[in-house]
Symmetry: C2
Subunit: 333 residues, 2 copies
Amino acid sequence: MNIYDVSSQAGVSIATVSRVLNGNPNVSEKTRSRVLAVMEELGYTPNVFARGLGLGTIRTVGIMCSDSSDPYLAHAIYYLERELRSNGYDAILCCTGSLLDIKRQYFDLLRSKKVDAIILAGSKFIEMRAKDNSYIIDASQEIPILLINGYLEGDNIYSTLCDDHMATYQATDQLIASGCRDILYLFTSVSYSGANKLEGYRDALTAHGLEIRSEYIHQCKKDILSARDLLLRLHHSGLIFDAVLASDDQLAVGAVKYAHAESRAIPDDLSIIGYNNSSYAICTDPELTSIDSKVEALCTTAVNTLMGVFNGSNVPSRTTIAADLIKRATTKF
Amino acid sequence: MNIYDVSSQAGVSIATVSRVLNGNPNVSEKTRSRVLAVMEELGYTPNVFARGLGLGTIRTVGIMCSDSSDPYLAHAIYYLERELRSNGYDAILCCTGSLLDIKRQYFDLLRSKKVDAIILAGSKFIEMRAKDNSYIIDASQEIPILLINGYLEGDNIYSTLCDDHMATYQATDQLIASGCRDILYLFTSVSYSGANKLEGYRDALTAHGLEIRSEYIHQCKKDILSARDLLLRLHHSGLIFDAVLASDDQLAVGAVKYAHAESRAIPDDLSIIGYNNSSYAICTDPELTSIDSKVEALCTTAVNTLMGVFNGSNVPSRTTIAADLIKRATTKF
């Protein structure tokens, strides 16, 4: 018995039921009476673990991330916790790793705790095969699911995304405008976000009439030394490249180390662009040009969306935020 | 009414009460009867929010950290959450910032949630003035308090520490053995851990008959560019130094950037040692020699200690773990 049963039985939206529960005045008396009657008829009662200020809620949101020690996700957790806290909600954190079975176990655990919502932080939670995401769709029948930089279509699923496609499109476009022609693309994951980044790179090449060559597109562990070693191998195999666009700053740091190892001048002989504009970007000499993927804005927006859902407001199921290209010393522009 | 009242009234230790609650067989029948009688007499009942497998517990531990986006603390949170989870406990995370009033507010919030214990991650939670720590001492009358790399004396307070004094002592000793005489010490905080690191540096100088000079000891924001700029200012003020020992890798990265800016050869003209052996240590060229402060071992040990407390085992109130000096390319040894 839950809010969804009430909604369906009363023939009103979940938002309307939520408004009634929250005492929101924007509900007609007639609708309010019908919803309350259905609640009584169905024996709908607030969650037995209710102990917060809200009705039928423990005022706790579950946050899942694949790895809280990853700098991007560490910042996401920081901002999500801060925003939830400022709205009077606790955050239960689960670090899941990347295996689907383990992610599902954590997800079920959070549901069994009767959390008010689950936030999936990072794009690693949406699988390529639709049936592998069905547990998320199923859960969204009962609680709102929020995705930070991931996308899944569903009625009670809300995505807050960085426009990764536009970001890599513009970065590639600027590399080409500054004279680069043989641009390597390094990426770590084929998530929704990862696929959009790659597509932006490809579309920019196509827009400039340049060929998309598979030998210029490489997947790599999210690890500085793995990226450096990959570039050393490509270099020694004879591949000619004058720029590296990376899906993460760690890979771009590896590219700087490769350039140092081979005495290639940055940016005159090799341009490099990272992603996330993390503190890695200022570790290197020269410092990295990097795409700021606006993690703080994403997290603030996602929590605002969630509060809107709780309050029964109309909220968009998908919000996209533009990235910024932060220009430093590894590019000619 | 809590476990402490039962312990005091029955004239047995908290550990014994805990053993009785957990059905641990290592309690005599006589003692068990007395404890159960006192519980009945005092009307001691498990926590009303009990919903986990344990008795009188919500199987949830509060973790406080000043900033989850700091790499050291981000890793600490990751390991703490993993270890708590594997023992069947949830983690509620609070990122507190560094202001005492805010830290106290979060602490009180966690206590009001009836968490089973509070872990204070990082050395920023223990204040210099004893009265500023009294809220922690008071809380330890009711729940165990765990400190990761902080120390506070108290009956139900458990500290897991890295031997920071020994770590900086040995690092300074090796710098001196490799020919350095004018060693700058950069640090970010005057916490318990921070004070021990500084003392290790001072003691090593003294052991070698070298003078401790205040112009060689500088506090700095935990920020790469702040450290670089501080060193540039000291350099231009005419200070002569042949080594930098830093309390955090970020500052050591700043030292590498200073050396590059002034074309000083690393390590021949300038040796550099960082602290924490984070991924920052491999961002730079040359890569940083850094002290591995064993954050994973600290967190695993702390959670084991906590489980021991819950099970009524005898656990040490203070555990110290030795650091490792990881030698890379910024030192001559």
